[in-house]
Amino acid sequence: MLRRSLQLALGRDVLGRDVLGRGLGTRRGGSRLGKVEGSGGYRGSWVAPVSSFVTFKIRDPGHDVKTVGRLGEGDWNGKMSEIKKKIQSFLPGGAWTQLHDTSYLPPEHSDVVIVGGGVMGLSVAYWLKRLEKPRGAIRVLVVERDHTYSQASTVLSVGGIRQQFSVPENIQLSLFSVDFLRNINEYLAVVDDPPLDIQFNPSGYLLLASEKGAAVLESNVQVQRQEGAKVCLMSPEQLRNKFPWINPEGVALASYGMEHEGWFDPWSLLQGLRRKAQSMGVLFCQGEVTRFVSSSSHAETASGEEVTLKRVHEVHVKIDHSLEYQPVECAIVINAAGAWSGQIAELAGVGKGPPGTLQGTKLPVEPRKRYVYLWNCPQGPGLETPFVIDASGAYFRREGLGNNYLGGCSPTEEEEPDPENLEVDHEFFQDKVWPPLAQRVPAFESLKVRSAWAGYYDYNTFDQNGVVGPHPLVVNMYFATGFSGHGLQQAPAVGRAVAEMVLHGNFQTINLSPFLFNRFHLGEKVHEHNII
């Protein structure tokens, strides 16, 4: 009788099952904050109470070891010591406090959860806050796993921006982004903070084409001019006149962007967006998204195919170096996780089904490692050097004012390096990057490599262009990823497009319907010629 009432007092019913839902591993003081995976005896931060007035006889350690595990049926001593601990804790003099500090946890509820805090995620957050009709309507949470951004594509990027694409939507995105960057202090101004300087060098891009690619280059330039980009075509002689350091052998045609192209500092853009988003009320949290809790319903498409429509209503954010996670209730999830977007999409159930169906179409974004090398060449090209992209795929640009240059080359499919880590392969420079560059720019025959690093492309294996917009089946997940190396330069415009999609239901300024997820299932590739 006494035993049973004590059991009830401890929160277990007659069979010893945990009745109040406060099993091992749940945090005291609030059942929704900070849960812990599994039941390995973690009991939250219990501080052993010390009370000089009341002392109870505590059992010897031999018995206590048994009580740390699961409280079993006949564990009378364990239960007694639990009760004694409880009584000691609320008597005065105890060191137990009801309220723990949970400021590192994300909020329990957020209207929009943006997975990934790189330039894409921050851009979406900024535009969501900027385009919402009544101010302060939507609560936005940005979840970023690594606040040092050590592996993020944004900060490891070379930072170029160009309009020389072949797909009109890409050109439009780039044009708006450059307008954003030019007027960045009107867009991202925060009261009492110094203005941003993203060190935009408007030196232009120079794309070189051999005989084979000349016709394509010319038609591309036509499209670009139609969209409003200022590009001019140059013959090899004009090339030699304008850039004396270039060796135009093998070049049939070159296109040179005269305005709105160049490079800038991605870190400043990131910090500027972050600062502005924070001032507009976006919440930031450091953690990793480990689970999506969703509810699903079955539906049939017009062609009779059975599909499962899902809706994510909870995101589990796991805190670093800890087993603790916080369930965040949300209405919309935005996948801006960059190179890891594929994993996040799989967590949400994208692609779980028989291949070939809409259900089974995965998000084809995977991390690809790309190297960037920094070298010094005292006799190199001067300050007017544009961002040169050779016909062979190797590229370089000027970095700073001390004769330093950045460059690299995208490897072919067979030589793709392992994206396991960000180790740099210096042989790649010797074999694949230096020869074509030295052939194009004779001054580069003698150079000294200063440093090198590697970064990830969020590579879209389908057609190397971005995925923007909602998923047809996981109804409240929006994508803003898969840009395969030209994400940074399109980020402000893509952020606005996604925000318009979320808030208004359609693209209003730039029509990105070719970039929707559906194209993976329908097989409609958006073929872009100028992918670096």
């Binding site: 839902g21 319903s297 109804v475 239901g505």
Partner: protein
Amino acid sequence: MLKIIMPTMMLIPLTWLSKHNMIWINTTTYSMLISLISLMYLNQLPDNNLNLSPLFFVDSLSTPLLMLTTWLLPLMLMASQHHLSKETPTRKKLYITMLVMLQLLLIMTFTATELIMFYILFEATLMPTLIIITRWGNQTERLNAGLYFLFYTLVGSLPLLIALLWLQNNLGTLNLLVIQYWAQPLPNSWSNTLLWLACMMAFMVKMPLYGLHLWLPKAHVEAPIAGSMVLAAVLLKLGGYGMMRITVLLNPLTNHMAYPFMMLSLWGMIMTSSICLRQTDLKSLIAYSSVSHMALVIMAVLIQSPWSYAGATALMVAHGLTSSLLFCLANSNYERIHSRTMILARGLQMLLPLMATWWLLASLTNLALPPTINLVGELFVVMSSFSWSNITIILMGVNITITALYSLYMLITTQRGKLTHHIKNIKPSFTRENSLMILHLLPLLLLSLNPKIILGPIY
């Protein structure tokens, strides 16, 4: 009276001893049966009262509120089924026990004969409500909300206790039936002014009056659905009911003491209506609209004319049903989309047309469309305040306009417009939800055929 109190009390063992899959069915059906019992109290003359026992009595002011309270319990239980479905059986039973306890205390409060008993039960209703808000609410802010709710009401009502004790000493009794005849006019002195304030402040906080309304948006928004329903529909009316009972003792001080509060409520109703136009959170909008409607009731009670009392009673019942209905609708949205922000769920009329009908009717009753009882109440209050002072009609008119504006704004934002992509797969309306809305609307619309039962004792 025991025939209502006993069954309500026995609902508690009913929940604890029911099988798990019968908890909701048992409690909902039995509480609906109990609500039918309260209908028999309508069978009385409007200016008379039914003395059921030395402790309890009902008259035509208590009866509509009693009917509202008992009618609301099955509705609260129906509304809570979904968000409690994932809890353990013991927690579900605890929740229902809290609701039933609250119901019990409210029934006894509305029928109490003695003012001290009324006061004790008035305070006692705070406890189950606080437990419901802080334990089952959704966000972390619910702790703050519970604190505000508890302490605003407590601090407001402590002077009331002292005033009641003094009055008991002075008059010899605090029996509501007796003090109607024994009340002496209070001479004008400082201590009597303080007495007036002490008596009225508790109810002003509860109503709430515009300057003391801070607890309401917090409590309503953070409470779970049943908590919001009972708060909006019944607990606010406790304030109105108390004011109407206690002003019997406070003449003729009310003639000049009421001025500041009338100014506050006139100004407050326009202010809170305007705030509604700027709200982005659906529950917050409905909470502020409650403040606005209750400000009209405060006006009416302070004017103390027969028509204003009739209007106040009608408005209390009408607002109880309408506000509770709006909270249920907002909750049905929240359960599907997991967000209370209005702009994230637009164009619902395309997806859930029947629910859109309920939204339309709820918005129409909220803006006091004729011939609903909302209009009857508002019209009586506007007319009596016009006869008290001609200028108030401007403020009342502005308020009615702004009320119409925000009700329609809420309707258009949630129902009309282009569908957002992320709500395309929400679950269709459950029968439970549709019947919940109908059970709110049916009394509301049927009462427009015979409003005299809710027009109170003066009719």
